[in-house]
């Protein structure tokens, strides 16, 4: 029981943050545990890295990243230090790093960090913001509606089924295997233990135990092998088992995919203002007026939307 939202413009569209918030509010009933957004901004010269950690680890991780960048220039921007909720023990920090060659050292350091710290997202365009609570509160807390320069984005409200409710397990998910990838997902990859162990054998790092992270890493692995997003996603439908509908985004492309029985709902619709939207409930499409050319996909279907 989760809700997916995506806004994929064909040309420049303003207020994407607001549109995604509206779509999620319309679907709040589908999930009230946590919510999250993956925003793709216009291309940046420098890498942005968002790291999550336990409150107690925050200073240590900052020190680590500072040290790795000490001899080079680093422009460290801490845009948020969650959280207002007293139950939540996790915080996140966003770093903007230059020059580019530092990036793999930092990613390796986070991959190998002994303690409760993990990579949320990294890349030249992507930032993922996620937290526990209701969508209205999260929107206010992070000023989502005011964010500028968003080119496209995907979002999610979550009802936790298998893992704990915390910002760490909230969607969207990304991976350290490849920059700028985000996944939101409704359903369950029932063979995720199997897929995960195979990817772990290949040396990929997992930061959590959710099945959605497995999708991100699996797709990243295929993209690393030279697959297009469409081919990777088609192979994923053949490989994965169980009921799932997911939206996978990389720069300039968003894939929309359903399992072979199309067990979970979701529909794509077009708005005359010039964008596609994908939503689990039709209410989400109504919220942003994207009700033309509706496409719910064939069972096992894959559709890739192009954007800028």
């Amino acid at each position: 029981m989760c809700g997916i939202a995506a806004i994929i413009p064909e040309k420049k569209v303003e207020g994407i943050g607001k549109k995604l918030v509206d779509m999620l509010i319309a679907q709040q009933i589908r999930g009230a545990d946590s919510a999250g957004f993956a925003f793709y901004f216009s291309e940046n010269e420098h890498y942005g890295i968002r790291v999550g950690h336990h409150v107690n680890e925050e200073e240590k991780v900052k020190e680590l990243i500072r040290n790795l960048c000490s001899e080079r220039r680093i422009n460290e921007i801490k845009i948020d230090n969650l959280t207002t909720n007293s139950l939540e023990k996790y915080t996140t920090c966003f770093y903007r790093v230059e020059p580019e060659k530092n990036i793999s050292e930092i990613i390796n350091a986070i991959n190998n960090y002994q303690g409760e710290a993990w990579l949320i997202s990294y890349g030249k365009r992507l930032d993922i913001i996620k937290d526990i609570g209701l969508i209205g509160d999260i929107t206010k807390k992070y000023n989502i509606e005011k964010l500028e320069n968003i080119v496209f984005g995907i979002a999610h409200v979550r009802t936790a089924t298998h893992t704990e409710v915390n910002s760490r397990n909230a969607h969207p998910f990304s991976t350290s295997a490849i920059p700028d990838i985000a996944v939101v997902h409704n359903g369950e990859i029932s063979n995720y233990h199997k897929l995960k162990s195979r990817l772990e054998n290949k040396g990929y790092k997992f930061f959590g135990s959710t099945d959605t992270e497995v999708i991100a890493v699996w797709i990243a692995d295929r993209l690393n092998s030279g697959y297009s997003l469409e081919n990777a996603t088609r192979e994923f439908v053949e490989t994965a088992d169980g009921p799932f509908t997911c939206v996978i985004s990389i720069p300039n492309e968003v894939a929309f995919v359903k399992d072979r029985y199309a067990t979970r709902p979701a529909t794509a619709g077009y708005c005359r203002e010039g964008y596609w939207a994908i939503s689990t409930d039709l209410a989400g499409l109504h919220a942003v007026n994207a009700t033309k050319n509706l496409d719910s996909l064939e069972p096992g279907g894959v559709r890739v939307f192009n954007t800028k």
């Binding site: 063979n191 054998n201 040396g203 169980g242």
Partner: protein
């Protein structure tokens, strides 16, 4: 009442040599203590009455050019001509051929006694020929006509011993087939004369690859004992698949003490083999230089066997890590075997495990063919139902995480979580 051990002493005092028996060991039934988790609300079950289930399997292809395609992850495991009668062999052959024509293609392992001409030349199913220490029936034709080759290092019922075919069952025909003398018990060697260490297995796999132009998948079968080490060696040897045969496996004849006390159980062997194969592959990945880019290594497939007679055991074995299972005694029981454990005497009243012409006539080839087919249909149906209820629409996706047990011993042996508490007994899984 004299105890079993007491009876054995009496027997030993009378005979002066090891007692034999046939059939399968049924000392433990650990499978009964394992349950499969069903899907409910977090993930819904699929409907086995209305929706399709993909039950096919691709076997081989790690280094072989050919990949076997099975419509059900079942190999009819090794039962040699000699151990069982020609009629029994042919009934199985007929059943598998008909199933293959109906679209249910399985695989048949010849066993170590060589292949019958019908099996070699008229098989619609996948034929796996066994390359055992006695080399009975092995020639170029045998290797070339097979779909896959299995190097048999040992079998679960009597790990560490070679094959036994006692003199009563060695008729003229069996002797000709195996190229052995009539009237003398045939004991094949306990080890291959040219495979006495890990490097020799490597060489043997390469040799068979060269002989068959790298076409045929090569399987290596071991009896379950030092499973972890054997799995590592098999991974390094370059075999396509490992066959691990637990001690519940049946046999035509074995020293009683060996059948009862050598080797470990299938339920423990399969997850141990799977973990070790995974780690071995992980080590191979780690050994690849970083600048080589994204290299794809194919997994070593695992075929589990030994006492896997029913659909629940098959599904559980697959969840524990087997890609495919071997069934032998199950097929015999479907044919009417009563597991009287007298196979070694060659006086099987059902006409299965005998070479006596009169007894063999009791086996109606048509009738048992139907029974085998029905058994396979039923297994197929039940495997489908269990998987779909657990939330899967493809075979081979279930893992140990989808099982629970009510037996602390099973949990400690396998790593299956306990029912309710989700605790795994014991810590070190390596």
């Amino acid at each position: 009442m004299p105890s079993d051990a007491q009876k054995r002493v009496g027997q030993m005092a009378k005979d002066g040599s090891a007692a034999y028996r046939g059939g399968a060991t049924q000392k433990y039934d650990f499978w009964e203590d394992i349950s499969i988790l069903a899907a409910q609300v977090g993930m819904p079950p699929f409907d086995s009455y209305k929706e399709d289930f993909d039950i096919s399997l691709k076997l081989g292809g790690r280094y072989s050019k050919n990949i076997l395609s099975l419509n059900m992850p079942i190999v009819v495991a090794a039962m040699s001509y000699g151990a069982i009668s020609r009629t029994a062999k042919l009934a199985i052959h007929d059943a598998l051929n008909e199933l293959a024509i109906e679209g249910i293609k399985l695989a048949l392992n010849t066993g170590e006694g060589g292949a019958l001409p019908e099996e070699l030349n008229e098989h619609e199913y996948n034929l796996i020929v066994q390359y055992a220490s006695g080399r009975f029936g092995v020639n170029l034709d045998y290797l070339k006509k097979a779909d896959a080759i299995e190097i048999k290092l040992g079998q679960g019922a009597k790990v560490g011993l070679g094959g036994h075919l006692l003199e009563d069952k060695i008729t003229e025909d069996v002797a000709r087939q195996r190229q052995i003398p009539i009237g003398v018990s045939a004991f094949s060697p306990a080890r291959h004369m040219d495979i006495i260490g890990p490097e020799d297995l490597d060489a043997k796999v390469s040799e068979l690859r060269e002989i068959t132009d790298w076409e045929k998948p090569i399987l290596v079968k071991v009896g379950a004992s030092y499973v972890k080490n054997d799995a590592e060696i098999i991974t390094k040897s370059g075999a396509d698949a490992m066959v691990v045969d637990g001690s519940e496996g049946g046999t035509g004849a074995a020293p009683l003490v060996a059948a009862e006390h050598l080797g470990i159980n299938t339920v423990a062997a399969i997850p141990a083999a799977r973990r070790s194969l995974d780690i071995s592959i992980q080590n191979l990945y780690n050994a690849i230089p970083k600048n080589k880019g994204n290299v794809e290594l194919r997994d070593v497939q695992l075929i589990g066997s030994g006492g896997l007679w029913t659909s629940d055991r098959i599904v559980k074995a697959m969840a524990l890590g087997a890609d495919c299972v071997g069934i032998a005694s199950g097929i015999l029981i479907a044919m009417g075997c009563t597991q009287c454990q007298q196979c070694h005497e060659g006086r099987c009243v059902k006409g299965i495990a005998t070479q006596d012409q009169e007894l063999e006539k009791k086996l109606d080839r048509e009738e048992v063919k139907m029974k085998i087919k029905n058994y396979i249909y039923a297994l197929r149906d039940e495997i489908k139902k269990l998987n779909m209820a657990a939330g899967f629409y493809k075979i081979g996706d279930m893992t140990i995480e989808n099982l629970r047990t009510c037996n602390v011993n099973v949990s400690a042996m396998t790593g299956i979580k306990m029912q309710g508490s989700d605790v795994i007994i014991g810590l070190d899984r390596q």
